[in-house]
Symmetry: C2
Subunit: 346 residues, 2 copies
């Protein structure tokens, strides 16, 4: 490590910003001015709305650099923001990225992080248009704002679900959560014995879902192709239960989910059992899957049945019915809202 | 303090967000959807561009809660972002605000902070439209993104200054820096003897410039009224020297500033001397003044002479002349670029 360590301090602020951002090329007509002025300038044509989403990621809370490679972290930090734009039925176009760093980070480490950011910008066709770079006393701080566009009449909110609508999900759930448990276990073992070899063989899928998630660009493209505008949509960041709670509360409806329809990957299922965890609980409350959860009319649902990555998991009901998960045995369980609790991490 | 302490943990994430943001009311037609979905939705009419600016503020680096009241901090955090939008000759319309907080903060403390944010939103007529709220292991983290609009043909960049243009500044410099020295001195004295009474009498102006700066909304309004579009513009956040460096580098020109024209408040001048600091150095390198620095043609300059808060401090020269500050005695000094250095704070 020491042979390749360039102190960030040797570049100064402006040199550092240039170094980190020089290789980003803007590709959108709407990007009129990117990095290098007081503000970025973007412009959309008529009939389009601008979408703005922002996330703050803190070391020790949202990521652990002991097992999260910086390149993956850069990729993930972008993707989780873009996921919010897709969840509005929009297309992300630009991001701003601010970072706070201590002198623990070498320039090479920052380059790894920015290479991940660049890979995500390329994969999702977004421009990096600005940000802020500052020192931090302790810990790595990341703040990203994503800017996107959508047709004015096709923006999808959380509040449009109607009784009788069907609930769809783009992929399987719980893998990111189980991936995190695997990484945490290896971290504990490593702390006890640094000579141990990590046992993550055949866990690529689970670990990958945690460290390098993808946003559901293709779902949005597919919906547009089929001329479907969902009645409500949200991305699964805090867990299915929490997201259903948002949709139902804001739409003033209830829901009935079928446990047997909830997609769980075989690796997730088996590994959950090895950890003595209930696979369905992991799928419902796990979070960080970044799949899209949306509701459509019965007519639109007909166009979606059988399509790859589109699974019907339940239906919207009257508010009085509450939020229900029906088990394979026909038992009804009430869903609970989740979300972080400040007490969890302190 | 303990009688009025509500633990943030008692609300949960969603309760906390609702508590903090419920009293914000959106006032702009362009704000289609604010807080409460995956992304905010804003829309501008034709002939307008959208401006985006973002800042990351970290406790211990950008602010010290020992002398910075949380309400003032909330106000300042918003204002410094709006300042960037004004510096593009734009009008800020919306902000997003993300915070990272540890359990050190009570709900009352957060309310103080948000009351400052709200006061700034009101004073500058901007809507709070989204954000992210998370725990932090240590220290208060603030990230703000400001969104504004400008006439497509009236956006002012840093790169348009031309040889012969005159350089204007909206207010006096160095006061925020001297205000910071006063607060730091009182902090040191307090640490040595907690029973000491702070000696900040008659220092309202200096301390106010540091703790509660204002953005130069009226300058932008005045320029529009006079039908003047500056050839370049920037806000003074890092110091006059650093900002002139940005304008000259990006415009490929030099500059000649006259020391005797640089506005320094009498309190700044006297207090600098008491600290054994050179007042002109404080004014040129101090930073955090949030005045606007801009260049205009000689014709436009005629309309500005004598107007309150508009002072000509020099002129744009050929690039070969460099960046020069001419002293009262006629000596020429080269300006140096500043900006933070990561080594300063570590």
């Amino acid at each position: 490590m020491s042979e390749n360590r360039t102190e960030v301090a040797s570049l100064g602020e402006f040199g550092l910003i240039r170094h980190l951002t020089d290789s980003f090329v803007n590709g959108h007509h709407s990007t009129i001015k990117g990095i290098g002025d007081d503000a970025a300038v973007i412009q959309y044509q008529d009939e389009k709305v601008t979408l703005i989403s922002t996330d703050l990621l803190l070391e020790g809370i949202h990521f652990d650099l002991m097992y999260c490679p910086l390149k993956h972290l850069g990729y993930k930090a972008v993707v989780v923001n873009l996921s919010d734009i897709y969840a509005m039925n929009g297309t992300p176009k630009q991001i701003t990225l601010s970072i706070g760093i201590s002198n623990r980070f070498s320039l090479e480490a920052l380059d790894d992080f920015y290479n991940g950011v660049k890979a995500a910008c390329k994969a999702y066709n977004v421009d990096l248009i600005g940000g802020d770079t500052t020192t931090s006393l302790k810990g790595f701080v990341i703040s990203i704002t994503a800017i996107g566009e959508a047709d004015k009449n096709k923006v999808v909110y959380r509040n449009g679900a109607k009784e009788g609508d069907l609930i769809f999900l783009t992929g399987d759930l719980g893998a990111a959560f189980i991936g995190l448990q695997l990484l945490e276990r290896e971290k504990q073992l490593f702390k006890e014995d640094p000579n141990i070899t990590p046992d993550l063989d055949n866990q690529d899928y689970l670990v990958g879902r945690q460290l390098k998630p993808e946003a559901q660009k293709t779902c949005i493209e597919k919906l547009a192709e089929l001329n479907i505008v969902p009645s409500s949509m949200i991305d699964v960041s805090d867990g299915l239960s929490s997201e259903m709670f948002h949709i139902c509360t804001q739409s003033d409806v209830g829901c009935l989910l079928y446990e047997e329809q909830i997609p769980i990957d075989a690796d997730t299922y088996e590994t959950a059992l090895k950890f003595n965890l209930d696979p369905i609980t992991c799928a419902v409350n796990g979070g960080e899957d970044y799949e899209l959860l949306f509701t459509v009319t019965k007519d639109d649902a007909q166009k979606l049945y059988g399509l790859f990555g589109m699974k019907c998991i339940g239906q919207i009901t009257n508010k009085d019915k509450g939020l229900i998960l029906e088990s394979k045995a026909g038992m009804k369980h009430e869903l609970k809202a989740q979300g972080w609790n400040i007490a969890d991490t302190l």
